[in-house]
């Protein structure tokens, strides 16, 4: 779902000719099989969540447990069908899923698809912003660290990278908020936009839910500025977490490729050190980097939960935590399906790109 999906093919145009390789005859089949593997992944997660959720209790107790006598509670549970045999419920749910019916949330009565759309686009926006920060920070600094390895800048950057990772997102978020919103007053505290902006954007025809896109479309520059201002801190908080990982990843892999003969060969032809790092070593290093970045999406979504809570960013991750507390089976399952699809698809694409690059990669 994030730009990761688009990124690899662009950046790896040099790698695509692998398709022409004779051993790639089975590539189409590999892709197909790898694609089909998305479904077991989703099925496993959905099944897991389905049963786990039902172990934890039902939504009616969650909502009414403090108000209603047990018999009335039980009556409502029976009426809602939550005490039927669990396998019956499971297959019924699978049946619904297959027909594309995700149902209506139990705790706040909304269409799951619509709920996923609303919160999904918020999380998407956050992830994109964070990814931009992560890439802008992680990649150049990673190259710099590789270039100056074992010198002071390298050590400083590595500690910076570890600190990015070691500081819990919510702690970093809190510090950022205190500094830039409360003390300096430069940036808004929380939320995705001011009330007025938000109202302006909702009145838009067919809003995408990605605010900066909507703001851009509306042509309202004040709104755009406001949306941007709101996006900065969450993107930085979440982006830095990933930036630390990217930095290290880029450093490791660029150092690895810098030691390769072909870099030495480039050097022997008089290519400058700068170009050696940024082109000759970086591009081949991109292959493993892309693979790991793909896996990073799961980390990012996990971090998004915390960022969303810290910055009042109404997205999937945070909503999932809320729905979990409410034992809103339908909503939780819906979100899990979506997350599973996102993650599985990302990994699928990353794997395929990896396979395009390197036919030896198997699942």
């Amino acid at each position: 779902m994030t730009t990761l999906i688009e990124a690899p093919p662009e950046d790896s145009d040099g790698l695509l000719p692998a398709k022409k390789k004779p051993s790639g005859g089975g590539l189409g089949q590999y892709i197909l099989i790898r694609f089909l593997l998305i479904f077991p992944t989703i099925l496993i997660l959905v099944t897991m969540v389905f049963f786990l959720m039902r172990i934890t209790g039902d939504p009616i107790t969650a909502a009414m447990g403090g108000r209603l006598p047990p018999d009335q509670l039980q009556q409502r549970i029976t009426a809602a069908g939550y005490d039927r045999p669990i396998l019956v419920q499971y297959f019924e749910y699978l049946g619904q899923l297959v027909t594309g019916n995700f149902g209506t949330t139990l705790s706040d009565n909304r269409k799951v698809t619509e709920m996923l759309g609303t919160y999904g686009s918020a999380t998407l926006e956050l992830s994109i912003n964070a990814l931009i920060v992560a890439l802008l920070v992680g990649i150049p600094l990673g190259m710099l660290a590789a270039h100056r390895r074992d010198h002071v800048p390298d050590a400083v950057l590595r500690i910076f990278a570890i600190l990015c990772y070691a500081t819990p997102v919510f702690f970093a978020g809190l510090l950022l908020k205190l500094t830039f919103s409360v003390w300096l007053g430069w940036l808004p505290v929380a939320g995705r936009a001011k009330t007025s902006t938000e109202l302006a954007l909702t009145s838009l025809q067919a809003p995408t839910g990605i605010y900066w896109l909507d703001a851009l479309r509306s042509g309202n520059m004040a709104a755009l500025g406001d949306v941007m201002a709101h996006a900065v801190l969450p993107a930085v908080a979440l982006g830095l977490l990933t930036a630390g990982i990217f930095l290290r990843l880029v450093r490791t892999n660029v150092i690895g490729t810098l030691g390769k003969d072909y870099v030495e060969a480039g050097r022997s032809r008089g290519v400058s050190e700068f170009r050696l790092v940024t082109k000759h070593a970086y591009k081949p290093a991109l292959i493993p980097i892309i693979t790991v970045m793909g896996l990073q999406i799961a980390v990012m979504l996990g971090g998004a939960v915390l960022t969303e809570k810290t910055f009042e960013w109404k997205g999937l991750g945070f909503q999932l935590a809320t729905y979990l507390t409410a034992r809103d089976y339908v909503a939780v399952q819906g979100i899990v399906v979506l997350l599973a699809v996102i993650v599985a698809t990302t990994n699928f694409i990353v794997d395929v790109v990896a396979a395009l690059i390197d036919p030896r990669v198997r699942y």
């Binding site: 000719p17 290519v271 400058s272």
Partner: protein, 571 residues
């Protein structure tokens, strides 16, 4: 090849201009365990159009010297002395000036063509990269991308890549190994440098491909008068190409002489030893004078009939037939030499005999057991009669176990000796491979390569196997070490009398050990016979080509053979 370019003398006769002068070069690396003096005192000179070979065993400082010529030493190195290229001293040059010289005045060709090419850029881009790095330098005009590509195509044409206009957009993996090395050479030639430093340019290649590359290098020198510093440990290559030879030993030059002279009358002991250790096809052959196959009366250990081995294709690709209808027998006491180029299926056969690969067709009987329906449980009792020596001695030992534990492992599994018994037996085995018994307590990484290969032999022998499979047991070793291991191998084989499948890509090595030789080509056994006969009068076309491509360590003989092989290969 193509039309003459703007280069001087075109007749392969060394000129008089000095292209490279090295004067009292010294290179030291700082490491944890103190300084390593990689190059102690090297002085040499190279004239235009001359080919200078630097030989010497592993670690003698050849590569370091080569890298110094281009100023490619890592930060940890300190060097003194002078390296003069066309009069400019490389050692004291600023990085920016150094970059100007690299590629323009001196270029480098690497050992492993597949690693010297960046897999993610087209070859054209990589060649052009060098051209553009120098464009606009020193007031010259900038080279446009299009122009750079034109010149890359020219360079590819020069090295004999067919259809260069089209191939210039290919990625490295779309070329064969030999073509890749041509591309690397093309990249080195792109700016017409007067000097090319080639560090083991053919070591990674098959002999037939090696012959082509050597031909190419000779052409370059002949047509453009390019000087070449050729680093190699293959004396055949030296004999084939070099005008002059420098012998290095532990960072010093021990001898320098014109090639013919060096081979004919080496002055230094070390050089003599080195030359003596080089296996020479037709000399010292195990099957010298034999007229019929020996050991035929003995027990047949391995019998292959129409053996086929396929590797399953992955995810739908058709299976790959690595071994295709091979038939042979191997009797007790016999050494069966299996030769063939890379990928011909040698290892596959060896592994199938040891039960590491499954056979897929025909019949393979090992010690009477039909491998086609291999069951680990029923085959296990036979395993104590089979020994296996791997190519890479380092990798074949568990790094976590001592040499003693590794050698004792087969015994522990099959005969369960007491600890004292095992220790005693390990000691005996070590001694039989001429290692001190005290080495049992060492870890694999604490032994040298040759020692490890001996230990590996000891392990293979620990249960007195009837059958030994040796898969390129010496190809990872230096020539001098290889000579010692081969000698040991021969002695032990005579002493123990096991049947042996000896796999190697080096005809000369096989010839030293085996009486019966099989030649494998693309999975098919194209020829088998008594060693000296196969080598002396090959029947099959491929065998002939193989033997013709093999350079012999003797310049005169090699020159003659070259003419022959030219005729044979239709050049």
């Amino acid at each position: 090849m193509t039309e003459n370019l703007d280069t001087p003398s075109g007749n392969g006769v060394p000129g008089t201009k000095t292209v490279l002068g090295i004067d009292h070069l010294q290179v030291t690396f700082a490491t944890d365990s103190g300084d390593v003096h990689a190059v102690k005192d090297v002085s040499l000179e190279l004239k235009a159009g001359e080919v200078l070979a630097i030989v010497g065993e592993s670690g003698s400082g050849k590569t370091v010297t080569a890298k110094t010529i281009l100023g490619l030493l890592p930060e940890t190195a300190t060097s003194s002395g002078a390296v003069l290229i066309n009069g400019t001293n490389i050692i004291s040059l600023s990085p920016a000036r150094l970059r100007q010289i690299r590629g323009r005045d001196v270029a480098m060709v690497f050992q492993e063509p597949s690693t010297a090419l960046n897999p993610v850029f087209t070859v054209g881009w990589q060649i052009a990269e060098g051209i553009r790095a120098h464009s606009g330098q020193g007031g010259g005009k900038r080279v446009s991308a299009k122009e750079a590509k034109e010149r890359a195509i020219d360079a590819l044409r020069k090295v004999g890549i067919p259809d260069p206009e089209h191939r210039v957009n290919y990625y490295p993996h779309q070329f064969s190994g030999g073509q890749k090395q041509r591309v690397v050479i093309a990249a080195a030639l792109a700016l017409n440098p007067g000097l090319i430093v080639a560090d083991e340019p053919t070591t990674a290649l098959d002999v037939t491909v090696q012959a082509e590359i050597l031909e190419l290098l000779r052409d370059l020198r002949g047509q453009y008068g390019t000087s070449i510093v050729l680093i190699t440990h293959n004396m055949g290559v030296v004999a084939d190409l070099a005008d002059r030879v420098v012998v290095m030993y532990q960072g010093d030059i021990v001898e320098e002489a014109p090639a013919r002279k060096l081979f004919a009358e080496p002055k230094q002991d070390y050089t003599r030893q080195l030359l003596a250790a080089v296996p020479h096809l037709g000399r010292n052959s195990a099957s010298e004078g034999l007229t019929e196959r020996r050991h035929q009366g003995g027990e047949v250990l391995v019998e292959a009939k129409d053996l086929t081995i396929e590797y399953p294709g992955r995810l739908g690709t058709p299976a790959f037939k690595a071994v295709d209808g091979v038939s042979f027998t191997l009797s007790r006491g016999e050494v069966f030499g299996l030769v063939g180029e890379s990928g011909s299926g040698k290892t596959t056969i060896g592994r199938a005999i040891a039960g590491l690969n499954r056979t897929t067709g025909g019949s393979l009987k090992v010690l009477g057991y039909e491998m086609l329906d291999l069951r680990e449980r029923t085959f296990k009792p036979l395993r104590k009669d089979i020994g296996f020596v791997f190519q890479d001695p380092a990798a074949s030992f568990n790094p976590q176990l001592t040499i003693g534990e590794c050698i004792a492992e087969p015994m522990v599994i099959h005969t369960r000796p007491s600890e004292a018994q095992a220790r005693k037996r390990v000691g005996e085995l070590l001694e039989s491979v001429q290692l001190p018994a005290s080495y049992a307590g060492r870890y694999p990484h604490e032994l040298s390569g040759g020692q490890r290969q001996r230990a590996s032999l000891a392990r293979a022998l620990s249960l007195n196997p009837r059958l030994l499979i040796a898969d390129e047991p010496t190809s990872a070793l230096d020539v001098s070490v290889q000579a010692k291991v081969l000698e040991l191998f021969r002695d032990i084989q005579e002493e123990f009398g096991f049947g042996c499948l000896f796999i190697s890509h080096d005809l000369a090595v096989v010839d030293i050990l085996s009486t019966w030789v099989g030649v494998l080509y693309k999975g098919k056994l194209v020829e088998q016979g008594i060693g000296s006969q196969v080598m002396g009068s090959p029947q099959h076309d491929y065998t002939r080509r193989l033997i013709a491509s093999l350079p012999v360590p003797d310049p005169d003989e090699q020159a003659r053979r070259r003419e022959e092989s030219r005729a044979l290969l239709g050049l």
